[in-house]
Amino acid sequence: MIANLGFGALVIALLVSIYGVGAAVYGARKGAPTWVDSARNAMLLTFPLLTLAAVCIITLLVNGQYEVEYVASVTSNSMPTYLKITALWGGQAGSLVFWTWLLSAFASAVTLRKWDRDREFLPWVIVVCLVTLIFFLVMIIFFENPFARIWQMPLGEAVKAMFPPAGAQLWVQEDGRGLNPLLRHPGMIIHPPMLYLGFVSFVIPYAFAIAALITRRTDDRWIRITRRWTLIAWLFLSLGLILGGRWAYDVLGWGGYWGWDPVEIAAFMPWLTGTAFLHSVMTQEKRGLLKHWNMVLIILTYALVIFGTFLTRSGVLSSVHAFAQSAIGPLFFVFIGLTFITSLSLLLSRWSELKTDAQMTSMFSREALFLLNNLLFMGILVVCFWGVIIPLISELFTGQKVTVGPPFYERATAPLFAGLLLLMGVAPLSAWKYSTAKTLGRSIWKPFVVSLAAPAVALIMGIRQPAALVGFWLCGIVGVVTLYEFWRGALARHRTRDESLPVALWRLAGRNRRRYGGYIIHLGVVLMALGIIGIEIFQTQTQDTIAQGEQITLGEYTLRYDSLAVFDHTDGRNVARAVVSVFKNGNLVGELHPRRDYYYESQQPMTIPGVRSTMDGDLYVLLVDWQPISTQRATFRIYHNPLVNWLWLGAFVFILGTLVAAWPDREPEAAVERSQQKQPAQAKA
């Protein structure tokens, strides 16, 4: 019953969406506002319909209605209720419904804004959002139906179908297979929604870009409207990536936070183009340049968002052939191809209208440095894209799969990331339009000299690796320049307006949140870079099998194996938990409990590390194996990850900066007006 209700809601949502596209196109072509309003109502109607569908899935999940295939595949009786609810995005079909629900929510929110000055955008924004929605709904309804049930045919075989085949009986199972234990972690419960939020909110700026192209509004209005959407999309995507890293660190048990896995890269690629876009739109706002390029970037971002969902959802990564067999793989492929080609041809047809008279004048101006920044982001994107694609191409043409692992990505992207850090240090000191080598050199030499202190201190502390010294220097220069920017601004305000320094700093950041939010993000990146340098260059590890009472030494740390307990937990897992004492330079500093959980239902083990975490670094202990209690021997793997906590601290600062930048202004429209009035004045200045 509930399954039928949910499925009906999905079907009606699809029909309403198709109607909405028709009404919007007709209304826009004929200039008939009533049709556009009707399209908007259709858009708004999809939200309650999809909410109903999602609520139906959740009801089925929570009540353990295992006759529904999706419910049986992601939940089991032993799971707590909150996990049953979050199982909505624990599997393929459910997560696609969740995707459409988010898209419908965001698109509805955006159609409810005040459209007075930009009414011509409305129908086309609706069209783009609804076409995307239609694509996902078609996939859900025809290929990945979360409401499909399992039927038993007269001859005994089980069939998955929405409606009963002739003569079939509903097959009700006693228990489900349960959620993948790796996903039963707080980080993993919020990580997918964050990524999806990021993915989905990038559809909005794309929709406005396409609307601007169709309506031939070649000014930067679409950028101004979607500025905050873009920042929010970027915020969620960043949060999703960070949470994913933290989850990997806590749960996957390989001592790291990022493994250059194709699934991770799938989410990282739209982040790269999105970051390039956030920087490059400033050039269009300030100088009216790069209009074509910004269009290319947002089109790419949209394509990569769909591509990312495709990579993670179609099974193409495990095998090209699995992808060819899965129903949704080829569909995704066609949709990405069609939207990408259509968007690009639209852009080409408007190419000449986007031309501007404005000119780049100096290689050292802010806009030129932003171009370099874009080049580096695109370089990283190409590396990532090829790394993901080559195994597929290789399998397709030679029949042999290859692995593209971390060493390739690290070697290829490290210089590009270093270049980005350098630009982060230089660009804030350059001025729009006018900076020359001379003016830039004059403002940079002092921070440059100060920043040399960072590698100097590292040298004194005995660090000799050239990569680390360069890295510390780059962190130093970004840190110094960024703090200097805050100091300079606050000091100027302090002098001219007679405000105390903290007040001046606060008001300064409040006056230009995007700029100073951006600088806070840069500081976050510096801290994260410290953590990354620490774990990438200075990580040490050892592994040994010892008896109870024996010790393993790694650097200044010594580990003593005290005891081991193996027991069954009520939630359906078998736990082996070791107790180890940690000594640093001979002094007892704590006790750790690395453990191995084995889930009976899914027959899957999970290695949970015992971690002693300080700002100096983490001691990360894994229980790799243990022998029968009688022999009292166990195998431990120990990692020392120096500075890794700075990565997480940096992530907090990073997110804080994004929040500052995206915080709504009190009068957003008035602010836009002001900045538009200011624009000609600035251009003259």
């Binding site: 048990g253 390989w254 001592g255 493994g259 250059w260 896995d261 194709p262 990564l317 495990s318 000119q359 780049m360 004048t361 100096s362 290689m363 030129a368 171009l371 370099l372 080049l375 695109m378 370089g379 190409v382 590396v383 090829w386 790394g387 080559i390 191409i393 290789s394 043409f397 030679t398 042999q400 799969k401 290859v402 692995t403 593209v404 692992g405 971390p406 060493p407 390739f408 290829a412 590009l416 006018y434 020359t436 001379k438 003016t439 590890q541 050892t542 592994q543 040994d544 099998t545 083990p605 290695t607 194996d625 195998t635 793997r637």
Partner: protein, 168 residues
């Protein structure tokens, strides 16, 4: 005198070489008789396992993979190390058995060659486009744009001078 010395030196060298060869043979024979995997530490095994990927557990390096199959691979590495095989020999063995996919990055031949060529080419292409664009920034109207950078700084300079003049 000098001849004598030279001869004895040569003899000594020969003697040393024979001793060395004998000791190597003896060592080899001892290993062949009784390879003892227990003498190989986990760290030695992991140093090699870190660079390998089994065909089943995608994108999980062998040293941290928890499956039974991967544990057996690690024991195989240990055995081969105890037989005196080098890191390169062990890696070559796994490649011969299971194909290039066991390596962390494919060798640069055949189609895989593209992996190493395309990204640098793309980046160089980007640099070239930027370079061309940079040329055009200066080119179109040299009388307007060329003196601009100079003008900007000299304007500043002039302004400062005028300011100073006014102060007087």
């Amino acid at each position: 005198m000098s001849m004598l010395t030279k001869n004895s030196v040569i003899k000594l060298i020969y003697l040393l070489l024979i001793l060395l060869a004998a000791s190597l043979l003896a060592n080899g024979a001892a290993l062949a008789q009784e390879p003892d995997p227990a003498t190989i530490t986990d760290d030695q095994v992991n140093a090699i396992a870190k660079q390998l990927y089994c065909p089943v557990c995608e994108n999980i390096p062998l040293d941290v993979c928890g499956t039974q199959a991967c544990a057996q691979w690690r024991e195989l590495i240990r055995l081969k190390l105890s037989q005196g095989q080098s890191e390169a020999e062990i890696k070559a063995y796994f490649v011969a058995q299971y194909g290039d996919r066991v390596l962390a990055a494919p060798p640069a031949r055949g189609l895989n060659w593209l992996l190493y060529v395309i990204p640098p080419l793309a980046i160089l292409g980007g640099v070239y486009i930027l370079y061309r664009a940079y040329k055009t920034w200066k080119q179109p109207a040299p009388q307007v744009t060329q003196p601009k950078p100079v003008a900007a700084s000299s304007d500043e300079y002039v302004a400062r001078i005028e300011e100073e003049l006014r102060k007087r």
